[in-house]
Symmetry: C2
Subunit: 234 residues, 2 copies
Amino acid sequence: MTSDVPPKRSRAENVYQALRDAILEQNLKPGTKLSEDVIAGEFKVSRTSVRAALQQLRGDGLVDHQANRGAFVAEPSAENARDIFSLRRMLESEVIRRLAGNLKPDDVKRLRKHVEQEERARPVNGPLSIRLAGEFHILLAELTGSQVLTRFVSETVSRSSLILARFARLHSSECAVDEHVRIIAALQAGDASTAEALMLHHLESVAVRADLRAPNSDGDTAAILKRYARALPT
Amino acid sequence: MTSDVPPKRSRAENVYQALRDAILEQNLKPGTKLSEDVIAGEFKVSRTSVRAALQQLRGDGLVDHQANRGAFVAEPSAENARDIFSLRRMLESEVIRRLAGNLKPDDVKRLRKHVEQEERARPVNGPLSIRLAGEFHILLAELTGSQVLTRFVSETVSRSSLILARFARLHSSECAVDEHVRIIAALQAGDASTAEALMLHHLESVAVRADLRAPNSDGDTAAILKRYARALPT
DNA sequence: CATACAATGATTGTGTACAATAATGTACAC
DNA sequence: GTGTACATTATTGTACACAATCATTGTATG
């Protein structure tokens, strides 16, 4: 954790991380086409590595892969969004229940450190702030020690980011930092029900921010153009 | 669902399906090395396609991938096993709650059909029977209409199969078919609490079958050899 | 003028060759 | 005889080239 030898990740892994970050920071927006050639050129690697990265992203549900047509940043439907938020409530409630009163001093330290990062990033770096907000929830899951729970939380949180990119009115971070702080406090105090209530409230405020009736940008090019078609002579 | 045009899956997809089936039918046991060359030769495809398939399996958690060393059928640890069973209880309870009283006639038909398949396979084909038992649970999840829930159930069920391959005493199917039947009945009757109790009992009987203290074969070569090392002169 | 069809272009799917890395076998020194 | 260092071998990681497939555009025809 301190200063290991350079991990020497494979090229595919590097590309994967970069693309994932870009998506989670909402710099690559839902629906964007991810051309293998373009990415390979940009990263100075072969298409082989890019394909591997894209496949991994597909496994995470961040990318949709259409046969012979290519990869696109996933566009969660409104129904899918409701689905994911529902699952998030279930999963993260479980996280809270497992954590309440069981946080080790080291855990608290990690959480505080992360929140500090969030506070530092908030005024300066919008995209980074968005990603860090999501990673707070993933960190909580990690502290349960359950690999599988972590994996599932990670997946739903990541896809929430996509949902907000598509449906949120203001292009804002997903979470309020002070709510994170309060959750930590309740967990530390061992107050399970308060912590769970806080988390559910927190998630609710995220879900509310999404207006599932109106996709932000290209919810189909066709749907957008309908508004302009009226201006044309019939 | 009846007779679509030939789906024309890609080669990577074909290899993926075949390997996945083999693992879920416990013909490829945990710890088995999955050599790219060997698989490529067997399926008469290039290593490229095999690599793609292996990566997808890694995404499912069925395969562990060690850098520059290759892919191996995953060997869930005892801790991991407890973790997964715990999550399964949570996820499948949710499935039951969502389904109780909401089964459409078509859904019931599909469930019955599946159970029939199970009954046919049981005396004849052990491995197939194992796989079908797992797929019953996945089918239940599908009927909720929640893609994400289905995905998570699918993953935990699949890994349960690995766990049983590693820890179960008798090389047996995971589920008793008649318990499946009773769950369907309770769901159809809209009796949520009975259905949930049945499911939890059902999952419990699966978990019990695993003796988490004694891995079946190679739970680390090292761990095994410790018992023999004592025989050597110090 | 709308529709169906065919050629074209671009992009992905696949196979093969090479480079890098880790595991294994062997020889040598102590 | 034992342990270490080196050479060998096998396997994965990567790049590149070709084949297959699909979308689009242009053209002909009703």
